[in-house]
Subunit: 156 residues, 2 copies
């Protein structure tokens, strides 16, 4: 193997490493998404729940574009997600007072309680996790993943 850090792993080795990483991440995303979906009430998808959660934790009144940027999805995808949530009565879409092109997203009371219900439904699932995968591990890798995500975002 290469001596030390003179040259980090060869290009090919590094590529393999990155592929493995992205593959693993892809699989986890797939598996966790499906699992979440199966226990969620109201036919909430992961994207929909994440949006409700976001509004509760960081406050509502965001524009669709800012939400799309926060979740790193296209505007079209966000339109779809918002339409689904509005149809379920979980959010309210107001016009933006100062920009006629734009809109503002607010949680409805029933959106708030839907999020509560979803959390409750997820609890039993999540309760099994810590034994095999302690929160400390999650906390440990989270910053690294954030770093990767930010790179992917900026170097689009």
């Amino acid at each position: 193997m290469p001596s030390k850090l003179t040259k980090p792993p060869s290009t090919a080795e590094a590529a393999d490493l990155y592929f493995s990483l992205f593959l693993e991440i892809g699989i986890i995303a797939q598996l966790s998404g499906n699992r979440f979906q199966r226990v969620m009430p109201f036919g909430l998808t992961m994207a929909q729940f994440s949006l409700l959660n976001h509004c509760v934790r960081l406050g509502d009144g965001w524009t669709p574009m800012r939400l799309a940027a926060a979740f790193q999805v296209t505007k079209g995808t966000m339109t779809n997600t918002l339409q689904k949530l509005e149809a379920k009565g979980f959010i309210r879409v107001d016009p933006d007072a100062t920009d006629a092109r734009s809109k503002r997203i607010f949680l409805t009371p029933s959106g708030r309680s839907a999020r509560e219900a979803a959390l409750k439904a997820l609890e039993p699932e999540l309760a099994q996790l810590p034994a095999a995968f302690p929160p400390a591990l999650a906390a440990e890798i989270l910053p690294t993943l954030e770093r990767l995500r930010i790179w992917l975002d900026t170097n689009r």
Copy 2:
């Protein structure tokens, strides 16, 4: 906040942590998948490329079911992926000699060179990564992610 490790982070805090983790992972999967897709030749998807790559690195002759298990996708999804690859002439599907229900997947020469071409096409993309996200970081979190994936797999 809870004193120390007397009780690991409260259930709610742990849940938040896990949500953040899964959200981050979902975003990375999405972003990286799209990016890969955009530079890949022959209209290869990430799934298709991963399969070619798998066959080169671990040898071919696998059954569809074993491949589905390796990539953690449903049998239906694997059927689809294999059909696409076969249509492109990148794999050959032989009957299994000892089990009439089953099949065996082999790379064709053009499949092998398609994988080479894909690697080449990916190179410039990957070349930019190490500066912002060194391979060592990837190597560091990979085992942890594997652990998480395995849990998700077994506790399906």
